[in-house]
């Protein structure tokens, strides 16, 4: 055989030692893909930065302030002071520094947001997971229950629960968590129903994997995207609900002040001391905005339909 280079081109390809010729596509994983998309979303990144900043302030801010949230100054020069260098956000009608109180409010709001959303996550994933996975009659009954709850305005449920449980930080979280899981349950169920039909789950079933294992190893991990998004977006909802509850006097008890309670006090003196409403109000808006932007960004990044 002549060994001209021209001729060698027409030799059969030996795959074993010419692996480099077989082109695999660059393996970008789901998560790396999602993270790249998230990073490109400016609003979401600003939201994330604001959230980090708020968490930082809530955790460490109060230690750098010369006042505590309950320090009163009842002298005429102390109460209802407008914002100044001494009191950045002014003072309230008991002469308490509003800046510190807003910082403490951040602790409450963020704690309620995160923990209530964790409760929502647990209940929703378990309920929706069981309903979607077992299917059939069980699913039917469980979804009827959801329909009934859906027939009641959820705000009323929270209010009723708070009336029974009595105000307090822990109870607020429980009441919100115990009420707002419906959406999560529906999403998890929907995800599971559609995933169940897919090949790899059928394959796992055929190979004799136990139900528990299929649920934990296959179904839940694969519906994690929508779950994360829903959980993230339930944080601002919880923060809002807490503020609402505190506003009507059912939230966290005095002298701790959540933003809702601060705003509620602020409304009483709106005419004369508008800053008493303005600062806690802006704090609520800013936080909700940050979480909403971040959550929306997450949804766009994790949404599998957007892939391509």
């Amino acid at each position: 055989m002549e060994a001209g280079t021209e001729m060698e081109l027409f030799q059969p390809l030996q795959r074993e030692n010419e692996e480099g010729y077989v082109f695999a596509q660059p393996a970008t994983t789901y998560w790396r893909d999602a993270w790249r998309r998230l990073k490109r979303n400016r609003a979401a990144m600003v939201g994330l930065a604001v959230i980090v900043f708020l968490v930082f302030l809530a955790l460490f801010g109060p230690y750098f302030c010369p006042y505590s949230y309950s320090d009163q100054d009842l002298t005429p020069e102390g109460i209802n002071q407008p914002p100044s260098w001494r009191h950045w956000f002014g003072t309230d009608n008991l002469g308490r520094d509003l800046f510190v109180r807003v910082l403490y409010g951040a602790r409450i709001s963020l704690a309620v947001g995160v923990f209530a959303s964790l409760i929502i996550l647990c209940i929703g994933v378990i309920y929706g997971g069981i309903s979607g996975y077992l299917g059939g009659k069980v699913d039917n009954i469980m979804m009827r229950v959801v329909d009934v709850i859906y027939g009641i305005p959820l705000v009323l449920v929270v209010i009723l629960l708070m009336v029974i449980l009595q105000p307090g930080l822990k109870n607020v979280m429980i009441a919100i968590g115990a009420t707002y899981w419906i959406q999560m349950a529906r999403i998890v169920r929907g995800q599971i129903l559609s995933l169940k039909e897919q090949d790899y789950v059928m394959a796992a079933t055929a190979l004799g994997a136990s139900r528990r294992r299929i649920l934990l190893r296959h179904l839940i991990p694969n519906s994690i995207g929508p779950i994360i998004v829903t959980a993230t977006l339930s944080i601002p909802e919880a923060i809002f609900t807490e503020a609402f509850l505190s506003f009507i006097g059912l939230g966290v008890a005095a002298p701790m002040a959540s933003w809702g309670a601060l705003a509620s006090e602020g409304v009483q003196s709106l005419r004369s001391y508008p800053w008493q409403l303005l600062f806690p109000g802006l704090a609520i808006c800013l936080t909700m905005l940050a979480f909403n932007f971040f959550g929306d960004g997450l949804r766009d990044a994790l949404d599998p339909w957007m892939r391509r």
């Binding site: 001729m7 081109l9 027409f10 030799q11 059969p12 390809l13 082109f23 596509q25 970008t28 391509r308």
Partner: protein, 336 residues
């Protein structure tokens, strides 16, 4: 010549990069002629069809080439002029009759709409014409059916409705994008049969798009085999069925059930995955799946050239190169 597609290139500019969905496709057909565009899913058949219709949306874009229909280059027409051609001079039907009809509008509304748009037909005349169309495509009690909604029809019936809609204005060209893929085998045959009858009756040209060489024979005279955005082999139905030269075409043929097969014969799907059009490998796109691949196959793309014994039969494969002959020798294979 009714339609001449010349070196068409259409890409999608996605997050991850440019997807060259159609990469230099040329073909043509005469008035009243039927051709088939065949290939696995994802090889760019639909994008070719949609390019002809001017229905490529961002992030997609027709980059170059020409699509000359009736003497006019469709790529250079304005949206207004294109709208006049769509549905009027070129009709199109789609793969999934379940989702291609609007679920909230009655069948009648959807059929009448086309005629009203292009011919200003309304009222009783339009209804009458719609009834005729429905009975032409073989839908029983058409007057009644006109008032019904898509979900009240079976898959095959819906595809008939789609055909009626596409033919409402008696177009010169019908593009059928996998018209039978979503249907049962028996229904598939009926739909192909219907298209054949309608072609004989109305004399329109047809581009039949399919991934199933099995449905081609009855309808098309000429076949274009597509792979990874290019045409890799083309020729008359006979040539493609009995004298295919491209290993990919062999693969397609092997995956088709044939009437003359022995009952127990196994259908062989082509091994491996179609290439990623985002980062197409250099050389022949089929090389990584090809049993007969040679070194040159992964280095340079073969050109689409007339085969040695039939100028109408074109193949893009290095095995056709005279220099390859020495190495192929007895290894000549095919649908074994």
């Amino acid at each position: 010549m009714l339609l001449a597609v010349n070196d068409l290139r259409t890409s999608f500019f996605t997050y991850a990069g440019e997807v060259k969905a159609v990469d230099g496709v040329s073909f043509s057909l005469d008035e009243g002629e039927a051709v088939a565009l065949v290939g696995e899913s994802g090889c760019g058949k639909s994008v070719t069809a949609l390019s002809i219709m001017g229905l490529i949306n961002p992030p997609g874009k027709i980059l170059s080439g020409s699509i000359v229909f009736n003497g006019r280059d469709l790529i250079r027409l304005s949206e207004r002029e294109l709208r006049h051609i769509r549905g009027n001079e070129i009709g199109m039907i789609f793969q999934d009759p379940m989702t291609s009809l609007n679920p909230v509008l009655s069948i009648g509304t959807q059929i009448i709409e086309v005629r009203r748009l292009h011919q200003g037909l309304r009222g009783r005349v339009a209804r009458q014409r719609a009834v005729e169309l429905l009975s032409m495509v073989g839908i029983p009690s058409p007057g009644e059916r006109l008032r019904q909604y898509p979900h009240q029809f079976s898959g095959g019936m819906r595809q008939r409705v789609m055909i009626a809609m596409a033919l409402a204005c008696q177009p010169k060209l019908l593009i059928a994008d996998e018209p039978t893929t979503a249907l049962d085998v028996t229904i598939q045959a009926q739909i192909i049969e219907l298209m054949k009858e309608l072609q004989a009756q109305l004399g329109m040209a047809i581009i039949l798009i399919t991934h199933d060489l099995g449905v081609v024979a009855g309808l098309a005279k000429k076949v274009y085999v597509m792979y990874a955005g290019r045409i890799v082999e083309s020729g008359s139905v006979d040539r493609i069925y009995y004298h295919a030269r491209h290993p990919y075409t062999w693969g397609l043929l092997a995956s088709v059930p044939r009437l003359d097969d022995k009952p127990k014969k196994r259908l062989v799907p082509i091994q491996g995955q179609p290439p990623d059009l985002l980062a197409p490998p250099p050389g022949c796109a089929f090389a990584s799946r090809c049993r007969y691949a040679m070194r040159i196959c992964v280095q340079e793309n073969p050109a689409l050239l007339p085969s040695s014994d039939d100028a109408e039969h074109r193949v893009a494969c290095w095995r056709e190169d005279p220099e390859a002959a020495a190495f192929i020798g007895a290894s000549r294979g095919g649908v074994a």
